[in-house]
Amino acid sequence: MTDKPEKFIDENGIRSDNRRANEIRDVKIEVGVLSRADGSCYLEFGKNKVMAAVYGPREVHPRHQQKSNRAIVRYKYNMASFSVEDRKRPGPDRRSIEVSKVSREALEDQIFTEYFPKSAIDIFVEVLQADAGTRTAAINAASVALADAGIPMRSLVSACAVGKVDDTLVLDLNKDEDNYGQADMPIAMTPDGKITLLQMDGHLTEEEFKQGLEMAQEGCRQIYEMQRKALIDYYSKETEVTAAGDVKENAQEKPEGVTPVEVIEDTEKIDDTNKTGDAKETEGTVENVYPEETGDTVKSGDADELEDSGVEVPHIGENADETDGQMDESEEESSNE
C-alpha cells in the first residue's frame, strides 16, 4: 500500500490520476462475454475489473424461498482472493455480505419481479481486480448483465461514488483518495433520478452532502449513457451479422432461446423495446394488475423475509463472529476494498 500523498489535488485542480474533481475514471463495458450465463457483462472502472453474470428467471433452490407472487432476486458480490494487495481470505466476509445486501436492494425494485412468480433471478458479481469503488462497478456491471439476460426492468441502474479529499468534493474516488480521504459516499440511481443505493462514511457537512449528492448523480448519468451505448453496440453488431447471413459471431455464444435471437430487425427498436424501454411502457399496465404493488409502499418485509429464509447467509464456522469481526476490521483499517 502506498503512503498518504501530501496533496490529493494540485494547484491546477488536477488529481493524482490526471482527473479533475468532477471527472469519473475511464469505463469499459463488454456485454455478453460468458457463454453459459443468461446475461453477462465485463466492466472496467479505472483499474477495477469486475465480471457480472445473471441466471434466470429460474427455479428456486431451496424451494422454501420461493414467492408465490413474484421472483426473488439474489445478489452475490464476491472478491477474488487475488484482487487486492494482501490476499483476501476467500468466501463471504461481513463486508461482502453487506455489499451484497445493499446492491441487491439497489437493483431489485427496478426488476419486474411480478412477471416471474416462483422463480429466482440470480446475479453473481466477481471482483477480479479491486481499486476503490468495487461495489459501484459491480452494480453497473450487474445492471447491464440483467438487460443482457432479457430481464424486464423499469430502467437500468447506474452507480458512482463521491468523496472528499483535501476538503474538496471529488467524483469517483481512486484508491489513495479512498484510503486516506475524508469521506466516501457511493450512490446508485435510475436515469429518472430515483436513488436506489446510498451509503456514506467519513465526514461531510450538510452542505457538502447536498453538493456531493448532485455530483454523484451527474456521474451516474454519464455511466448510464455508457451502459446504454454498450448494450446498443452489442445488439446492433449482432443484428448486422445476422442480417449478413452469418449468425456466428455473437449469437452462437448465446444459449438457445435467449432474447438476443429475437431482436433482429430494427437496431433502434432493439434497445428500446427489448430492454428497459419496453419495461417502462408496460409499467402502466402492471400497476393496474397489481394495485397493491404500486405506490412507494411496496412489498413490505421483503428484505426480512429473504433474510429469514436464509439467502446469502454465509455458513461460516462457530467463531464466525469474532474472526469475521477481525477480518472486517483489518479490511476497513487497511481499506482493502
Binding site: K101, E105, D201, T297, S300, G301, D321, S330, E333
Partner: protein, 259 residues
C-alpha cells in the same frame, strides 16, 4: 402469521393515515418515541447500557482487553462491533451465525463510531506494533419494536461513554476512562407511500420499503449513512431526511449523552 398478507392490510391503513398527516401511534412524522437509557447495567462489562426506544429494547456491552494491532495501523487501538438478532427478541429471528440484516446493523453502528472518531484510537496504543487496547462492542437486541438501528447506535455510544480501560487487571498501569471525543447519534426514517416518518415502529418498518439512516456527529456533520430496503428515494426526500435527522440527533445528544 403470514407477514406479507398482514402488511398489505396494514399498508393501506398506514398509507391512508399518512395522507391525513397521521401515524398509527399518534406521533408526528418527525417525532421520536420515548427514549430511556440506563448505563452501567452490567458490572462485568467495562461499559454497558440498556436502551429503550418505544418497545424496542437493546443492551450494549463493551469489553476491553489488550491485543495485537493490525500490521498497517500499528499505533492505534481496534474497534470490533457485533450485533446479534437473538431469537428471544422476535419470532422472526433465528439462531445461528449473523445474517445479512444483523451484519448490516453491526457494520453501520461500527461506521458511526469509527468515522466520527468517537474513540481516540491513538490513545489506545500500549506498545507500538505489539500491544494495543481492543474495544469490543457487542449489542444484543432484546425486543424488536422497530428501528433497532438507532437503538443499537445509541446503546453503543452510551456504553462507550461509561467504559473504563481495565489497565490494572492486566498490570498495564492505572484504570482510566475510555478516551471519547465525539458522540455520534443515528436517526432513521422510512418512506411510507411518499411520506417520510422518523423512528419507524415495527409496523411502519414492515410496511415501508425504504429506510435511510443518518449518523451525525457533535458539530452536526454527517459521519455515516445507509439506505436500507429495496425501494428508492428521491434526492428531495433524502435532503429532507438529512436535515431533520441532524436536528433530532442534536436533541437526543443534549438530552441523554454527555462526555
Amino acid at each position: 402469521m403470514n407477514k406479507e398478507i398482514v402488511s398489505i392490510i396494514q399498508k393501506d391503513q398506514l398509507y391512508n393515515l399518512m395522507l391525513k398527516g397521521e401515524r398509527a401511534d399518534g406521533r408526528a412524522f418527525d417525532e421520536i418515541r420515548e427514549i430511556k437509557i440506563e448505563t452501567g447495567v452490567i458490572a462485568k462489562a467495562e461499559g454497558s447500557a440498556r436502551v429503550e426506544i418505544g418497545d424496542t429494547k437493546i443492551i450494549a456491552g463493551v469489553k476491553i482487553s489488550p491485543g495485537t494491532p493490525f500490521p498497517d495501523t500499528p499505533d492505534v487501538g481496534v474497534i470490533i462491533t457485533s450485533l446479534e438478532l437473538i431469537p428471544l427478541a422476535s419470532p422472526e429471528f433465528e439462531s445461528g451465525p449473523p445474517r445479512e440484516n444483523a451484519v448490516e446493523l453491526a457494520r453501520v453502528t461500527d461506521r458511526g463510531i469509527r468515522e466520527s472518531g468517537a474513540i481516540d484510537l491513538k490513545k489506545l496504543c500500549i506498545i507500538e506494533g505489539e500491544k494495543v487496547w481492543m474495544v469490543f462492542i457487542d449489542i444484543h437486541v432484546l425486543d424488536d419494536g422497530g428501528n433497532i438501528m438507532d437503538a443499537a447506535a445509541l446503546g453503543s455510544i452510551a456504553a462507550l461513554l461509561t467504559a473504563t480501560i481495565p489497565a490494572e487487571r492486566y498490570e498495564l498501569g492505572e484504570d482510566a476512562p475510555l478516551p471519547i471525543r465525539d458522540i455520534p447519534v443515528s436517526v432513521t426514517a422510512v418512506d411510507i407511500g411518499g411520506g417520510i416518518v422518523f423512528d419507524p415502529s415495527l409496523q411502519e418498518e414492515r410496511v415501508g420499503n425504504t429506510k435511510l439512516t443518518v449518523i451525525s456527529n457533535q458539530e452536526g456533520a454527517l459521519a455515516g449513512m445507509q439506505k436500507s430496503g429495496s425501494g428508492s428515494l428521491s434526492p428531495d426526500q433524502i435532503n429532507h431526511i438529512v436535515e431533520v435527522a441532524c436536528k433530532k440527533a442534536q436533541d437526543i445528544r443534549e438530552k441523554f449523552l454527555e462526555i
